[in-house]
Subunit: 175 residues, 2 copies
């Protein structure tokens, strides 16, 4: 099963495409779609939509994993992000992807065992699970890591309890 994880945004939209092989996860692609600040919101959203379409054509994911809509203190930014999120959901549905939404605490809990884990803990586990495919620390930014994290969350939840136990063991071994 291939999972496209997305951290939605209209300026930077993080993405990660993950494939599960037994207890191994392979990162097929990750990065961020960056839109041009000089363009109108409509053109930026359209550019995002075009890039997502290309990503999906290229990597043929079966599912989209995305965090649930959140209600931030900064309403203006949150509403902008919601617009980008709408574009992503509509497009994924149009392409027939399964759509899985997770609360941020579920993502944290699934990856680290702690629903209140901080960004560093989550990043640590993302690097541990898919480290090989990831850009060097300096280049992999928050949105890219967050996108991979939600994809991993979906993938881990789909795994059998046995696989998850094996995973926990293998993560332990590598420590």
């Amino acid at each position: 099963v291939r999972v496209l994880g997305i951290d939605p945004g209209y300026h930077r939209c993080g993405y990660g495409v993950l494939e599960q092989h037994g207890q191994q996860w392979r990162l097929l692609a990750s990065g961020a779609v960056i839109t041009d600040r000089a363009q109108s919101m409509a053109l930026r959203l359209h550019a995002l939509s075009r890039e997502l379409d290309l990503l999906c054509r290229l990597h043929q994911p079966d599912a989209l994993a995305i965090e649930e809509l959140y209600f931030a203190k900064n309403a203006k930014t949150a509403m902008g992000v919601a617009q980008a999120r709408g574009v992503i959901l509509a497009q994924a549905a149009g392409l027939g992807l399964t759509i899985a939404e997770y609360a941020p605490s579920t993502v944290k809990s699934q990856l680290t065992g702690n629903g209140a884990a901080d960004k560093q803990q989550v990043a640590f586990m993302v690097r541990r699970l898919v480290g090989g495919g990831l850009s060097p620390a300096a280049d992999a930014l928050d949105d890219e890591l967050d996108a991979i994290a939600v994809a991993l969350c979906h993938s881990l939840r789909g795994a059998t309890p046995a696989a998850n136990a094996l995973l926990a063991a293998s993560v332990g071994r590598r420590r």
Copy 2:
């Protein structure tokens, strides 16, 4: 020039397609796209996107007129509406439409001369200007009227001062 006015929403999305002929406005289509509450948000947004695409293919508008993003007290509803709005903006940009965003006060001011006009005043002017094409009072709902209002706003702003004066006179005459 044909203008597609939209009052964005994920449950009901009001629309109106308007064509200007001198000082007359002809309503080519209006109504609301209604999505199925039983479906997921992603499928509803995709259905909205498909309906908009059909509307645009059928009526070939040159411009999209839409109200600016607003920050409502009900954050959850507002974020849902923002997701629908993102779908609409991206799609209109993809179809090459000119995109015009107006503050609610601008729409009210352009139609009634009063930026703080109430819904009844705006509805009165919408009916006066495009009354012939509109469904009977009982059937034309808020979102449909709001969509036509923002389309009229765009159309009126594009008109020359002379045309606007003629319009004012003709509206006066019909009173």
